[in-house]
């Protein structure tokens, strides 16, 4: 079956060109369990994925343990985070190369990269690069990120945590590579930029990030064994899934904003939804890679990604991915550049408030003590709400108001004099749009911390005081 040259959805064109490789859409599968075999990658391309990075191959197959994965659930939702102690491919190099060639032959218009990890020897890297490129694969991804197992053998993140190694191996690969070389970075490092720059110096054509984070998923409270466990013992594994997206976005943004790098980015980390994919792209990722979401739900999720991004693009007037990739990149600044004279305060819409009190207690105990609580008699409350009919409940000869108890309803209002505009109440409010953060005109021109320091030194400004909220 031939892949379609581009995923078009009405007037929106999702096709991309990523360091010279064309793909019908930016949604690729990351190197991992979903790209372990020809069978899976075929199914993925048929389902609509625009590209894939084949699960890391090597000269010798490894041996895996059982069990391998652990998950964090959050109050009823499964797999907020996932970790694994699985290693790179456990299949032979010959099997992998043959299947890669088969897929590429049948899907010439899809992007197929191959993830590589071999011993840190020049000849070993030369050999695998050549043999991989002989399959017709579109590009290479160097796995400098895997944080468990392989790193103990001097590979994976053991390379990606040392700029010199990263640069050296990238150079070895570039000595023989004819296709684009993407360096995949580990987040288990103090400054991801240092490794990104090393990759760039080594001649990389693109940067992929992030790989998984070191983690122990938990401890079984019955057996006291770590999770996941192998005969009662565990080992740190690579953490991924929705929980890691913010870390990934930060690192993507860091690489995208580094003037010494300037390479296309393939964004990875916590992408389950079209919104998360779009966020990666807005911060600078030209393609995105997904793994955990597919492990959870299967290849079919790509349809929601395509539909969601297309509809968003249409609403925003973007015709192609290039129109918005990196559009938010420069908005990520140093804290010292932010305007100290910008002020927002919370505002509670009394017409949609359900009177749960979550904003109040969050503000009172954990934040800035700026929400007032007032007991309104139930009878009086009825008069203040236009939608009260929807909140009144009659049974027998009794009449109740939802949210009332013991004859009163709690009404919450913001003390805007002391509100610091922290967002917390708006973040936790269960009613969409009930608490808004509204801008207050301070009447002062924008002033960053840097400017503030200068003006203070020059005696041109007073000390800024926080609102007295305690």
């Amino acid at each position: 079956m031939n892949g379609t040259p581009s995923t078009t959805n009405g007037d929106v064109d999702l096709s991309i060109e990523f360091c010279g490789v064309r793909a019908p859409n930016p949604f690729w599968l990351a190197s991992g369990p979903p790209t372990n075999s020809e069978y899976q990658v075929r199914r993925a391309f048929e389902a609509g994925w625009g590209g894939a990075v084949w699960k890391t191959i090597s000269h010798e197959p490894i041996v895996n343990v059982s069990s391998r994965y652990g998950a964090v659930d959050y109050e009823g939702r499964k797999v907020m985070g996932l970790n694994n102690i699985e290693l790179i491919t456990d299949r032979t190099l010959e099997d992998n190369l043959r299947e890669i060639a088969n897929v590429k032959r049948d899907f010439p218009n899809h992007a197929l990269f191959v993830s590589l990890m071999v011993e840190s020897k020049r000849e070993a890297w030369h050999d695998i690069v050549k043999r991989t490129e002989d399959t017709g694969a579109d590009g290479l991804e160097l796995n400098f990120g895997c944080p468990h197992g392989m790193s103990e053998r001097g590979m994976g993140s053991a390379v990606g945590q040392v700029p010199e190694y990263t640069q050296m191996i990238t150079e070895w690969v570039k000595e023989v590579a004819r296709t684009p070389v993407m360096v995949k970075l580990t987040p288990n490092i103090t400054d991801v930029g240092a490794i990104g720059r090393a990759g760039a110096r080594g001649g990389a054509d693109a940067i992929a990030l992030i790989n998984t984070l070191n983690s122990i998923m938990g401890v079984d409270l019955d057996t006291l064994a770590p999770k996941p466990h192998v005969r009662g013992q565990g080992s740190h594994g690579g953490y991924c899934g929705p929980a890691v997206k913010p870390i990934a976005l930060h690192m993507v943004s860091q690489i995208a904003n580094d003037p010494e790098i300037g390479l296309p980015i393939s964004g990875i980390g916590g992408i389950q939804t079209w919104q998360e994919a779009t966020e990666h792209m807005l911060l600078g990722a030209a393609s995105i890679q997904v793994c955990t979401a597919v492990m959870h739900f299967g290849f079919r999720i790509v349809e929601e990604l395509i539909s969601g991004v297309s509809n968003w693009m249409r609403a925003k007037g973007f015709g192609a991915c290039g129109d918005f990739v990196g559009a938010s990149r420069e908005r990520v600044r140093d804290w010292s550049d932010l305007d100290l004279n910008y002020k927002v305060v919370a505002e509670i819409d009394q017409q949609t408030c359900i009177n749960c009190g979550l904003c109040y207690i969050a503000c009172e105990d954990g934040c800035h003590q700026s929400i007032n609580i007032e007991r309104v008699p139930e009878s009086q409350f009825r008069k203040t709400r236009r939608d009260i009919a929807d909140r009144t409940f009659v049974s027998g000869t009794k009449r109740y108001t939802f949210g009332a108890g013991d004859g009163y309803v709690n009404r919450f209002t913001i003390n805007q004099e002391t509100c610091v505009g922290c967002n917390m109440c708006a973040l936790i409010c269960p009613v969409e749009g009930c608490i808004a953060m509204v801008e207050i005109d301070t009447g002062k021109p924008p002033m960053s911390w840097r400017e503030y320091q200068k003006r203070l030194a020059a005696g041109e400004t007073e000390l800024l005081e926080p609102p007295k909220h305690v």
Partner: protein, 446 residues
């Protein structure tokens, strides 16, 4: 009557009396618990007469501390497992739940409460031990929810408690007076049993008259009067003594004291009344196999005191309801009820105070072989009116200090259905028991 051609088998009857809201399993409980927003100064808790900390116990369920959840519930309400089953949650905790506004349905608070309580019940958890003996003695009259709650609270403080119960079974209306499809007799008794483990001298079959009450006031350091109410109010129409005329509570009692296939029910049943007991009796009659059940109420649906959800259950069970229908006379044949002569009425005015105007010429007869009176219970005036110093309301209920349960007679406390402004639910009786216990503890520590 009962055996006159109604074919019943016990398996079918048990199925009909199966619980309306079966227990939640672990997954269902987790899915229900996740909806709780964990409100601050939560409306559900404020709407609960016993002030169970509902967000707290639901969060404990969510975090798999089911035992902790049960303790949270029982700390506030020692009949927590019963109330989880019999409370009209629709008009209490669940009626106040803010999820009604957000999601158009409340958190399943009652069923979650049951989930937690059943878990501890199955594990025979004992959360409480008696306090160090104070040597003080308290007599409690009535082993219903108010009396037993008070007994439990007093034992926690180390006071000695003797409970006098007229019937030969403990638990009062919680054991006997609630439709069996809401609570099984066994479960109701198991909650009584937990209280008994606190070391209570329970004397069943010990009715208390005015002389005995006077004696206990001399013998004990305090007396808690939790006698509930007496007989159903009479209709004051001819024919009330005919065979086949029942009081609603007696009719419901039998579903707890006899095997279901031995319970009496008519082929054609007429229930007179519009409260929750009337609806309960009608629902029970349908389930026992009556061919037709008709509730006649003299006012309209608007004024009907029965809760909406109970009324809906009756309608979906096939009960017919006649509004604005007033009984005139119970017709008999050979000493047995054969029908109820009724008359249509018209309302003059609005609401429950509206005057009823008979519609001339609208009389007709509802044929029946069983008639159930459900007009509400009268007070035990023979007991209460003997004490000239005991302040009563006009309708014979005991006036108490709402904060302490103290009556106008020193050392005498009262609570539950016999008290002024009593709520009619088990949960109200439990709270009255707690209030009186606190009042008694304060008195005895003086």
């Amino acid at each position: 009557m009962a055996k006159s051609g109604i074919r019943r088998n016990s398996k079918m009857l048990r199925a009909k009396f199966a619980e309306l809201h079966p227990p939640l399993d672990d997954d269902e409980a987790a899915a229900a618990a996740v909806h709780c927003l964990y409100c601050y100064d939560a409306p559900c808790t404020r709407a609960c007469p016993t002030r169970i900390d509902i967000p707290h116990f639901i969060r404990q369920i969510l975090h798999k501390d089911t035992r902790g959840a049960a303790k949270t519930i029982l700390d506030a309400n020692i009949f927590g497992g019963s109330c989880a089953r019999v409370c009209p949650t629709e008009v209490l905790c669940e009626g106040a739940c803010v999820d009604n506004t957000l999601l158009n349905e409340p958190v399943l608070i009652g069923r979650l409460q049951r989930f937690a309580c059943d878990d501890s019940h199955e594990a025979s958890m004992n959360f409480y031990t008696p306090g160090a003996d104070t040597g003080k003695r308290v007599a409690i009259i009535g082993a219903g929810p108010a009396g037993l709650t008070c007994a439990h609270e007093l034992r926690k403080q180390g006071h000695r408690v003797t409970v006098f119960e007229a019937r030969d079974v403990a638990g009062g209306l919680n054991t006997l007076g609630i439709a069996a499809y809401k609570i099984s007799t066994e479960f109701a008794l198991s909650e009584v049993e937990r209280i008994m483990k606190m070391g209570i001298d329970l004397r069943l079959g010990s009715p208390v008259d005015a002389d005995r009450l006077a004696q206990y006031l001399l013998e004990y350091d305090a007396v808690f009067l939790a006698v509930g109410l007496g007989r159903t109010a009479p209709l004051d129409i001819p024919g009330e003594n005919l065979k086949g005329v029942w009081e609603a509570l007696d009719f419901i009692f039998q579903t707890h004291t006899k095997p279901l296939n031995k319970c009496k029910v008519g082929k054609q049943v007429v229930v007179i009344g519009g409260g929750n007991t009337a609806i309960d009796a009608a629902n029970a009659a349908v389930r026992l196999g009556a061919e037709s059940v008709t509730v006649a109420y003299r006012r309209d649906k608007h004024a009907m005191p029965a809760f909406e959800h109970e009324y809906d259950l009756a309608l979906s069970s096939g009960v017919q309801i006649l509004w604005l229908t007033k009984p005139l006379k119970i017709m008999g044949r050979a000493g047995k009820v054969a029908g109820v002569r009724v008359q249509r009425v018209r309302l003059d005015g609005r609401g429950r105070k509206a005057r009823l105007e008979p519609v001339r010429g609208s009389e007709y007869t509802l044929p029946c072989d069983m008639m159930i009176k459900a007009l509400g219970q009268e007070t035990l005036h023979e007991l209460l009116e003997v004490f000239p110093k005991l302040k009563l309301t006009k309708n014979g209920r005991v006036v108490v200090n709402p904060r302490t349960g103290a009556t106008s007679i020193p050392k005498l406390f009262a609570g539950g259905d016999c008290q002024k402004d009593a709520g009619e639910e088990v949960v109200n009786a439990v709270e009255a028991g707690k209030i009186a216990a606190a009042g008694i503890v304060a008195l005895l520590s003086r």
